[in-house]
C-alpha cells in the first residue's frame, strides 16, 4: 500500500518503500523510481491542473496492488499541452497503456502533435532514409587487379610472325584467360554520404505518422514489468496482438532491469534510447512502444527543429557522395 502525492512531492508511509529509496541513493523529496511516482509527476506537468492547487494525497486502490505497481487514479492523463499547433488541425490521439499486466489496461488518452504524428506520409522520404542508413556504413571491398598488377612475365609470348598463331604481346592482357581486369572494381570503396538534414527530419516525422496511422505505435506509462520472465513478454505481445517484433524506446539509456532480462533472449524484441531512434529500426520492427517520457522527448526535439530560428544548424551541413575518399 503506497500513499502518494500527485504533485511532485512524495510522502512515504510504508517503511519498506523508504528502504528502497535509501538503497537507490535518492532523497525522498526527488522523483523516485521509474514507477508510478515518475509518471504522476510527468502527467502532472502536462495536464491542465494548476500548480497552485493544494497538495492532495491520493490513496491508491487495493485492487491495483495486485498488479505489482501502484499508480494514481485513472485516467492518468487526458490532455497534453502542445506547442506550435497548426491552425484548424486537431491533435492526434492515442491510448496510454500499461505493461505491468498481460491484459491491456487503458490508463489515459495522450494528445500527439499533428506535425510529428500526423504529417503527410512521405513514403519516398522514408525510403531514402532507409537507403541512406543501409549505404552509409557500406564498404565495397571487391578488388580486381589490372594487367599491370598481376604477377608474371611481361614478355611477348611468341614472335609476331611465323608461328601461324594469332599475334599477342602480353600474357596478362584482358582477353586472355587469367588476364587482368580492365575496368574492374578498385579496392575498398566507401558509400558514405549524409542525407540532408530536412530529409532526416521529415523522414522521422513521416515514419512516426505511419506507425501511428497503422496502429503500430503504442504508448505506455513506463517500461517497468513485474517479472523478468521472457514468457511474460511473449504472452503480452501475443495477447495484445502486437506485431511479432517490438521496439521499446525509453528516454534514458539504462533500461529497466526486468525488461532487459525478459527481452534479452528474444531476438525480435529490442530496447533503444531516444537518441538511437531511427527510421530503419522503426521499419524493421512491427510495433513501436514509446514510454511517455520518451514521447515527450521525441516530440520536443522534432517540434523544435520544425520551428527553429536558425535555418542552418551545424548538423544540417550537407555532405555529398564521394567527398570522403575511401
Amino acid at each position: 500500500m503506497l500513499r502518494q502525492i500527485c504533485t511532485g512531492r512524495l510522502s512515504v508511509s510504508s517503511a519498506c518503500c523508504s528502504v528502497i529509496l535509501s538503497l537507490r541513493g535518492l532523497s525522498p523529496n526527488n522523483v523516485v523510481s521509474r514507477s508510478a511516482s515518475t509518471i504522476s509527476t510527468l502527467v502532472d506537468s502536462f495536464t491542465l491542473k494548476k500548480k497552485s492547487e493544494d497538495i492532495v494525497p491520493v490513496v491508491t486502490e487495493d485492487v491495483e496492488v495486485e498488479t505489482g505497481l501502484a499508480r494514481g487514479p485513472l485516467p492518468l492523463i487526458t490532455h497534453r499541452e502542445l506547442n506550435y499547433l497548426p491552425f484548424g488541425r486537431a491533435s492526434r490521439q492515442a491510448w496510454m497503456e500499461n505493461l505491468d499486466t498481460i491484459e491491456e489496461q487503458k490508463l489515459g488518452l495522450v494528445d500527439l502533435h499533428p506535425d510529428v504524428f500526423g504529417t503527410f506520409p512521405r513514403i519516398e522520404i522514408i525510403q531514402s532514409n532507409m537507403q541512406w542508413q543501409m549505404l552509409y556504413k557500406k564498404v565495397n571491398w571487391t578488388f580486381a587487379p589490372s594487367r599491370a598488377e598481376l604477377p608474371g612475365s611481361q614478355r611477348k609470348p611468341w614472335p609476331q610472325k611465323g608461328t601461324g598463331r594469332a599475334r599477342h604481346g602480353h600474357r596478362k592482357a584482358p582477353q586472355w584467360h587469367g588476364g587482368g581486369k580492365p575496368h574492374g572494381p578498385r579496392g575498398p570503396k566507401s558509400y558514405y554520404y549524409m542525407l540532408p538534414f530536412d530529409k532526416r527530419l521529415h523522414g522521422l516525422c513521416s515514419m512516426l505518422s505511419v506507425k501511428h496511422a497503422q496502429d503500430d505505435l503504442k504508448i505506455v506509462d513506463t517500461l517497468d514489468i513485474p517479472t523478468d520472465d521472457p514468457k511474460y513478454m511473449e504472452d503480452l505481445v501475443d495477447k495484445r496482438k502486437w506485431g511479432v517484433s517490438v521496439l521499446f524506446v525509453d528516454d534514458t539509456d539504462i533500461a529497466p532491469k526486468n525488461l532487459a532480462l525478459a527481452t534479452d533472449s528474444i531476438g525480435h524484441m529490442n530496447i533503444m534510447p531516444v537518441y538511437g531512434l531511427n527510421v530503419y529500426s522503426m521499419l524493421k520492427h512491427e510495433t513501436l512502444v514509446l514510454s511517455l517520457a520518451a514521447l515527450n522527448k521525441i516530440e520536443e526535439k522534432l517540434v523544435f527543429h520544425l520551428n527553429r530560428h536558425n535555418p542552418r544548424p551545424p548538423t544540417a551541413r550537407k555532405i555529398h557522395k564521394g567527398s570522403f575518399i575511401s
Partner: protein, 190 residues
C-alpha cells in the same frame, strides 16, 4: 600488449587539454543547442592551432562580469519569434495574423516564418513561369477550382491552367501570378 602500450602513451600525452572533447563547442541558450558533431568541425584548423602553453607566457588580463549583458543581446533566439496575435491589427507592412474563414474546406498554412507560401518558379530562362501555392491543407481540389475561377474572371482573355500536386500539397498555376494570388489569399484571410 600493444593496447596497453597505446593506452599508457595516451595517458601520458603532453597535452594540456583535448581540443576535440565535445564540451568545446557547447553553448547553452543560443542558437546551436547541440554539441557540434565531429564531422562539422574544421579539423585542418584544429591541427594547425597551437597547443596551449604555460600561463606565464601570456600577457595579463582581468575578468569582468559586468559587460556580459551586452553579449546577451548578441545571442540570437532559438525559436522563431512570436508575431503579434491580434488578427485585426493593421500593421504598416501589410502583414496580418492569419484568420481563415471558419466554414472553408481548405486552409493555406503559413510558413515557419509566418509568411504566405506563394512562390514563383522560373524555368527556361524566364520563358516558363509557374505560381506555386504551397502548404495547402484540406480540400485541395476546391482551392484549385476557386482560385482558377477567380483568376479567370479577372483575366477573361487568358486561359488559366491550374493543377494540383497532391503529394506535395501544392496548387500550381501557369504564369507568374504571385501578386494576384497573394491578393486573393489576403482577401480570404489565410
Amino acid at each position: 600488449m600493444l593496447q596497453n602500450i597505446a593506452r599508457k602513451s595516451f595517458k601520458f600525452r603532453p597535452v594540456v587539454c583535448f581540443k576535440n572533447s565535445p564540451q568545446c563547442s557547447i553553448l547553452p541558450g543560443c542558437g546551436n543547442t547541440e554539441v557540434c558533431p565531429p564531422h562539422a568541425r574544421n579539423y585542418s584548423a584544429y591541427f594547425k592551432s597551437r597547443v596551449e602553453e604555460s600561463p606565464d607566457k601570456y600577457t595579463e588580463y582581468e575578468k569582468s562580469f559586468e559587460e556580459w549583458k551586452f553579449v546577451e543581446k548578441l545571442i540570437p533566439p532559438t525559436h522563431v519569434p512570436e508575431p503579434p496575435r491580434d488578427p485585426t491589427l493593421k500593421l504598416p507592412s501589410g502583414w496580418y495574423k492569419a484568420n481563415p474563414p471558419k466554414d472553408c474546406s481548405y486552409n493555406i498554412r503559413r510558413t515557419k516564418n509566418h509568411m504566405i507560401p506563394v512562390y514563383c518558379q522560373i524555368m527556361a530562362r524566364g520563358d516558363v513561369r509557374f505560381t506555386h501555392i504551397r502548404r495547402v491543407e484540406g480540400n485541395i481540389w476546391q482551392l484549385e477550382k476557386d482560385i482558377g475561377q477567380w483568376l479567370q474572371d479577372r483575366y477573361p482573355l487568358k486561359t488559366m491552367n491550374t493543377r494540383t500536386h497532391e503529394i506535395c500539397r501544392q496548387v500550381i498555376i501557369k504564369g507568374d501570378l504571385v501578386d494576384d494570388v497573394k491578393e486573393w489569399v489576403t482577401a480570404q484571410g489565410f
